[in-house]
């Protein structure tokens, strides 16, 4: 299935012609691959010093819904001497056509092969997209292993939430950006640009060549057949090492090849040692300090096809300090930084004008937490009423206040509301520090039913630490209580329509850099038995039950807490045909099992083994600010079901983020 590298020799003109004349007509949803959307930036490469392709390892409609892409795309392209283009994972039909026609993976803007870029940057949003990363590299004709790539190939880098532990991808990546990309990326790209210029100049002097001494491959020759020993750095790998060393000196940049992993006799991870003088022992993540004035694109891309989040995304705040103990985003984006109402209103006005969207979504981890959310929503609605532009909230807290907000923004359509109590009993909710009581939930749904909603979705997790049968029964009981409350209210109001409650469970995945990182995942068979039990238990006709594939959660747990040895498994699984693992109809669990077997790696060691506090962890060199002592403390408190208050209003709980990263909670007003 995988073609030889040397057949991928098309220029952008040839690629364009093949697309327009042959390929696009044969695939589903061709606008995934055409580019040309409104507000797209297409630059002349002669006028820039550095080019980067932002790669999202999933289909277009998922990737284009990602706010980070929109921010970084426009941030880089706002720099006159830098260019950023986009690439997504081609869907299977497109991949087949491309391989058949020998079309290498290309970027949407210029249709140049990815091989021609200086930097290829993957965003790591979820572990189950890792096989797509390898597949995209292969489809681009780029060698998978970082060590096989010299500077005729792009630097392959990554960032995003899973960069908190990128170790399973370490052999494939040249560098990893830790923390909020907008803080680091320009510095990173400038370093690459400077290095390339110096190289070109040095080579110019050395050879007297009048050619712009391209150390960048123009795509006509595989790297290995190019004459070695030209240019001042002679050995191209040496030149690359020099560039990586410079990059490693940028705070927040991690160069995996500058470290060596050691394992003990039992095969446990022991330590990661720096092997290069420029490699710091710990890499501290970067974070936006002044979020209010931080860069935000006011003329973002507007896709043609319907994408998952097809609306204006107004980022109202970043971070969450509610301290849910399972939540990786909670660890990763601390502390809370809000944008001011004035700025948000001004941004919204420009965004409506520049995109023509008819909906503004207020996005963040928890929008109802913004200290000025009510006046913000009122003003936004007033500002946009005449244009028939609506406002929406992507997620709601479990409280009546959130329902009030939902009531305010809801134009009229009463689609369902979604709440996440996460666990079925008070005890277990206290374990995970989800500060929600049954009373909160009942008040919330009462308010929702009274205000005309009849469909409620409830999200829970199963397999949480300390979970017992009682907690499962609790899920069922809560769902029934909500359904009964709904039926009573609807009957009272004389509404004929019945209530509809959807209960959805995901399986707990212990994530690195959270208080539960030492916890094992619950065994797959046990999770499946619990799903079965709930399926039987939730017989009420008003209640629908759906659940996540436990096999997928198992793989997620392995890769979330994985080390470098998993790279071989990943590579083997991909080579045997795995990609789009997150898409249930394309997920091939047996192939993954076979890959573990063949590599002699026991997946259970990663997912099911409780880790002792004094054991070294494969991701501990990556410092996200939240300190180990705090995580241990939170873990211990979890086991005694003791709550931790939100530091934004109460006192500091000592997570360490503020002092380590020199930031602080930044709230813009009083609630109300």
């Amino acid at each position: 299935m995988h073609l030889q590298k040397n057949t991928w020799q098309h220029t952008e003109q040839e690629i364009s012609q093949l697309l327009e004349e042959r390929i696009l007509a044969q695939v589903t949803k061709p606008t995934r691959y055409t580019g040309g959307e409104f507000n797209q930036v297409r630059k002349n490469w002669d006028d820039v010093d550095v080019t980067m392709a932002f790669a999202f390892p999933d289909v277009y409609e998922v990737g284009m819904s990602h706010l980070g892409l929109r921010i970084l795309y426009h941030l880089v392209n706002d720099q006159p001497r830098m260019a950023m283009e986009r690439v997504f994972a081609p869907w299977t039909d497109m991949e087949a056509k491309m391989r058949q026609a020998g079309v290498p993976l290309f970027a949407l803007e210029s249709r140049k092969p990815l091989k021609d870029f200086d930097v290829l940057g993957f965003t790591l949003q979820y572990e189950m997209a890792y096989s797509n990363i390898l597949n995209m590299l292969d489809l681009a004709g780029i060698p998978l292993e970082a060590g096989e790539r010299d500077l005729t190939m792009p630097l392959v880098i990554a960032g995003g939430p899973c960069a908190m532990n990128p170790e399973p991808l370490a052999p494939f990546l040249d560098a990893v950006i830790l923390g909020e990309g907008e803080e680091v990326l320009l510095e990173f790209l400038q370093t690459v640009a400077d290095f390339r210029r110096e190289q070109a100049e040095a080579q110019h002097t050395a050879t007297g060549s009048v050619q712009p001494a391209g150390i960048r491959n123009t795509g006509t020759q595989p790297a290995s057949t190019q004459p070695a020993g030209t240019g001042v750095y002679g050995d191209r790998l040496q030149a690359k090492r020099e560039l990586l060393a410079r990059l490693a000196r940028i705070p927040g940049v991690y160069v995996p090849s500058f470290y060596e992993a050691n394992y003990d006799a039992q095969g446990r991870f022991r330590e990661l040692t720096p092997t290069h003088p420029d490699a710091p022992a710990r890499i501290l993540k970067r974070v936006v300090r002044d979020f209010d004035s931080a860069y935000f694109p006011e003329e973002p891309l507007v896709p043609y096809m319907q994408v998952v989040h097809d609306r204006i995304m107004l980022e109202v705040l970043r971070g969450c300090t509610r301290a849910c103990r399972f939540c990786q985003a909670g660890s990763n984006y601390r502390p809370v930084r809000e944008r001011s109402t004035e700025r948000l209103l001004a941004q919204a006005e420009k965004l409506v004008q520049a995109t023509g969207y008819d909906e503004i979504a207020l996005t963040s981890l928890s929008t109802a937490d913004h200290s000025c959310v009510s006046p913000l929503i009122r003003n936004l609605i007033a500002q946009n009423k005449d244009k028939k532009v609506g406002v929406s909230l992507p997620s709601l807290r479990v409280d009546a206040f959130s329902v009030d907000l939902a009531k305010e923004v809801q134009k009229v359509r009463k689609t369902g509301l979604t709440f996440a109590p996460e666990a079925g009993t008070q005890r277990l909710r206290d374990v995970i520090n989800k500060g929600v009581t049954e009373e909160d939930l009942m008040n919330t749904v009462t308010s929702a039913f009274e205000n005309g909603w009849s469909t409620i979705k409830l999200y829970f997790m199963i397999g949480l630490p300390t979970e017992t049968e009682e907690d499962l029964e609790g899920i069922a009981r809560l769902a029934e209580a909500v359904a009964n409350r709904g039926s009573a209210i609807l009957r009272q109001k004389g509404i004929k329509k019945g209530v509809k409650i959807t209960v959805s469970t995901s399986s707990f995945v212990p994530k690195p850099q959270t208080p539960f990182q030492w916890e094992p995942q619950m065994a797959r068979a046990e999770l499946e038995a619990k799903q079965e039990w709930l399926k039987k238990r939730l017989r009420d006709r008003r209640i629908q039950y759906s659940w996540h594939d436990a096999r997928l959660s198992f793989l997620e747990a392995i890769f979330a807490k994985g080390d470098r040895r998993l790279a071989a498994v990943l590579k083997r699984a991909w080579a045997s045909g795995c990609s789009f693992d997150g898409w249930s109809d394309l997920f091939q669990f047996e192939k993954w099992q076979a890959a573990f077997e063949a590599e002699g790696i026991n997946p259970d060691d990663y997912a099911y083994r409780p880790i002792a506090y004094d054991e070294p962890l494969p991701w501990e060199h990556l410092d996200i600010g939240v300190q180990r002592s705090y995580l241990i403390g939170e873990h211990e408190k979890a086991l005694t079901a003791t709550l931790t208050a939100d530091c934004r209003t109460g006192s500091c709980s000592g997570c360490g983020v503020c002092s380590t990263l020199s930031v602080s909670n930044d709230l813009r007003g009083k609630k109300g």
């Binding site: 061709p30 409104f38 797209q40 319907q306 134009k411």
Partner: protein, 232 residues
């Protein structure tokens, strides 16, 4: 209330947009251009935008039409200019005109479509053979084609809906020009016309290479073809 009719083209890369995507594109572009749209009444107000006829994905069109209701009076030239600026690559605004409020819907009046097709040949064909093929086809009174519909495959006779047909050769390329029926009285698809010719003359056509351009949409009155921009 004002009603306007816009003529526009749909070229690369927007030829790949579905009908629904095209509707959304117009809604958003009109909003970006600050053109005062009229909205439907009701719970979920939507702008009143009506296209002439759906265009298959991938087909270039040099003459599409859309009617839009506006909430205020406008200068059509200004609308054209503003809208052009708010459009992505591949949409050219060819004309804007005010139409009477009671003008018949585009869908109801447009009944002719003019297409140009181009496809590569996989083996040589002579001019004579091609001419004979066209002649033979045109002499027949019935052209049966199969169509995939919601209720399975059905057979249709499209001969009466083909009003003009010319074919020529150019560097191993087959070029076809044809004027066919479209709209509420029935649709003939250009690739169906190609298929009929292929069968009649055993033409070795590389179907993957087929490119189609819709050159015009018209209102036929007797022998006359009129543009929707003049026929009001």
């Amino acid at each position: 209330m004002t009603k306007i009719r816009i003529a526009f083209s749909k070229e690369d890369p927007v030829r790949w947009l579905s009908h629904l995507d095209t509707q959304k594109l117009f809604e958003r572009a009109l909003r970006r251009a600050d053109i005062p749209l009229a909205f439907s009444e009701g719970f979920n107000p939507h702008p009143k935008i009506a296209f002439a006829s759906a265009l298959a994905v991938g087909v270039v069109s040099l003459s599409e039409y859309v009617d839009i209701e506006l909430a205020a009076e406008v200068d059509p030239d200004v609308v054209g200019e503003k809208l052009q600026k708010a459009m992505p690559e591949g949409v050219r605004i060819l004309g804007v005109t005010i139409i009477p409020h009671n003008a018949a819907a585009l869908m109801a009046v447009i009944n002719r479509a003019d297409y140009r097709l181009r496809a590569a040949l996989t083996a040589p064909v002579t001019e004579e053979h091609l001419a004979a093929t066209v002649e033979k086809a045109l002499q027949q009174t019935s052209w049966l084609v199969e169509r995939d519909g919601k209720r399975g495959v059905s057979t249709k006779d499209i001969r009466a809906g083909v009003f003009r047909l010319q074919a020529s050769l150019h560097d191993q390329m087959l070029l076809i020009e044809t004027l066919v029926q479209t709209g509420s009285e029935g649709n003939v698809r250009p690739d169906e016309v190609l298929r009929v010719l292929m069968e009649q003359g055993n033409l070795p056509v590389d179907q993957e290479s087929l490119r189609i351009i819709r050159v015009g949409l018209y209102i036929a009155k007797g022998d006359q073809l009129r543009s929707p921009m003049e026929e009001l």
